[in-house]
Symmetry: C2
Subunit: 402 residues, 2 copies
């Protein structure tokens, strides 16, 4: 079946990343060159804009503008948290028909792949020829089938630099420092806090992932053991850290909230988990200096920091989706690693939407250490090439432990 001629929609969904705009630009520049694509419509705030027929025309954007956008974090087209069902997708198809759209490119995570899948099925059911392609994106790195996800390397670089600096800070003013990292269901980003380590005693000294539940007693005992040994301890904790029963501490805290008579006090805020964990360590060990930070949105949208590898791959992923849409009626543009370590290399492949949609990918067992509180060298070998360059730091080799 030869590829149809018509217009294209491109759209960005879910939480922004540092390179989702690079994928957008990849789609645009490949679509501009594609003989079968005429107009390129950017959906304003993703599917929520499509059903309201809100688009911006991207057909003639110049290279300078595209390059500037590719270097900027967050979603230039705006985003949405809507998860379209069949009825919602039928409305999308109606708009596509009205606008002569034959290509649908959706940059997002597993939910977006699922949306593509529904749109593809519904278009087929309606007898309307339209090719729906998914362009992977997520800082969580939890998509199946692809080796890794555009967006992850940049977020990994951010948390690696942040914890690297925080570890030096903790050397200067020793105590316990707890850093809470994004990733509710998968520990990929939390694991990346280790990537800046250069020396044996560099933090984070402990890493807690959703994949490895830990009781509060074990957590506190681990921290105390490191503190007793090094005189300090840096801990990276996923926001999805789970008690031994598998229930997240975030959920347990939220259920125990005490609201004052003015209704002013909340414990469900962004800093609650970090503050709770710091309180536990302080209360149960007697260590005086215990601090906690929650890295928050900086992890996904810090301006001026991109992984050199990630931004190139994200842009290429967008281009490849357009290319694959000339050969297949639907799919997702994924990466396969064909070179390791210093010979790191990926090739781009097309996979079926069903291989990416719905379900997510946890950190595999071989990336988590035996005691469930750290990562393995295998994880570092996997993740380091994705971060691009990381800063080297200096120190005084003769500094005694105080």
């Amino acid at each position: 079946m030869s590829a149809p001629k018509g217009n294209a929609i491109v759209s960005q969904s879910g939480g922004p990343t540092g390179v989702i705009n690079a994928s957008l630009v990849g789609v645009i520049e490949a679509a501009q060159k594609c003989a079968n694509i005429e107009k390129i419509f950017g959906a304003v705030h993703a599917v929520s804009g499509i059903v309201k027929d809100q688009f911006v025309d991207l057909t003639n954007l110049d290279a300078d503008t595209l390059n500037l956008i590719a270097g900027s974090p967050s979603s230039a087209l705006g985003s949405s948290r809507d998860k379209p069902d069949v009825e919602y997708c039928k409305k999308i198809i109606t708009i596509c028909q009205k606008r002569g759209v034959r290509y649908f490119f959706y940059i997002g995570g597993n939910d977006s792949a699922n949306t593509c899948k529904i749109i593809n099925e519904q278009a087929e059911a309606a007898g309307y020829e339209m090719r729906a392609f998914h362009v992977p994106k997520t800082i969580d790195n939890d998509l199946r089938t692809t080796d890794h996800c555009p967006g992850y390397g940049t977020a990994a670089k951010f948390v690696a630099c942040a914890v690297k600096g925080d570890d030096l800070d903790n050397r200067a003013l020793p105590g316990v420092k707890i850093d809470v990292i994004m990733g509710r269901d998968a520990g990929w980003l939390t694991a990346a806090t280790t990537l800046g380590q250069e020396r044996e005693d560099d933090g984070p000294h402990l890493v807690y992932l959703p994949e490895a539940p830990v009781s509060m007693d074990k957590f506190v005992a681990d921290v105390k053991a490191v503190y007793d040994k090094l005189g300090r301890c840096v801990v990276a904790v996923s926001e999805g850290i789970r008690d031994a029963d598998g229930v997240t501490w975030a959920k347990k805290i939220a259920e125990n909230v005490e609201v004052d008579s003015h209704g002013n006090v909340q414990l469900s805020g962004s800093g609650a988990l970090a503050d709770f964990l710091a309180g536990q360590v302080k209360g149960k060990t007697g260590i005086k200096r215990v601090r906690a930070d929650t890295f928050g949105y900086l992890q996904r949208s810090f301006a001026g920091l991109q992984s050199e590898t990630d931004v190139v791959e994200a842009r290429e992923t967008g281009r490849k989706a357009v290319e694959f849409a000339q050969q297949y009626t639907s799919g997702s543009a994924i990466m396969k690693r064909v070179g390791q370590g210093k010979n790191y290399k990926v090739v781009f492949e097309r996979t079926e939407l069903k291989n990416v949609a719905e379900f997510t990918k946890e950190l595999p067992h071989e990336f988590i250490n035996a005691t469930g509180n750290g990562v393995t060298q295998a994880f570092k070998d996997y993740a380091l090439p994705l971060c691009g360059s990381l800063p080297k730091t200096g120190y005084l080799a003769t500094m005694p432990r105080v």
Copy 2:
């Protein structure tokens, strides 16, 4: 009085910064070249190490090691929060006499300048010839007499990049976003969140500083007015934000903490203020999407991000302190601005310790806007040259407001 011959102590105090190591390296490399200085002792964890006679020998550090340390955040010698009184300083002088120390270089804030002053006075009283010099350092930028403080430009660059990215994130997923910035008593760093602004509607749209108290009603009304106009609102808040009566919200929250029966729940943690403010806006305006982040230690110790201007000035400040110690018996190495804007230039001068010690410098009135919720162009003109390069971001000019 000719400069004495002898050994030198160098020391780093208080909260780390991104360039305090550059000042350390500046002191070391100038001391290495100084004919009157023999050995260079690094005090381990500042004054707390001195009184325990804990030092590392820095005399023969090579240029490669020095350059690597100068590029690294945090205090390579370790830090301390001790504020020495007269008795403490007498102990320091005893150690200095024992070690033949004639030069004392202390990198820190106004408290460190005060420590230098006491040491200088007590050495004189004891008839021991020793020159005590202060090397300014603080991300808070609140030292008197100097045009600005080494450490500020790098922290300013960090918060400018962070809020710039956060503003793009807020465009993609509109709502209210509150960012809590370091600086308990002075708003210099919070004001710097505006430095990445490129477009009329770029955030932060509101800036709250310790110098401009605001009632909760006014705060909430301000946020609502921006949200009603733009459909979104990014707010930068100093951790020292004050109620109309001048009392900080942080203090008011801490006094209203409710502790549950297990003693587990804390509201005095690092995220409490941000979560409280988000709760206020949500509860009083009905706006659905209200988020808050507390930037925390990342502001002072993020690895791999330095202001190009700041790191050069910090290193030169260290060198100048050594140079001035050949001409004067005590003092602080300060900067005076002699060129503005694109012709930005500073010269280094020596000032009396009493001009820097003890008291701090607030943001002047002409840097705060008339409504007390933003900064003026005069502030930006002052602060922009200190940040070095800031990223330019792209956007779609035709994006409609949704």
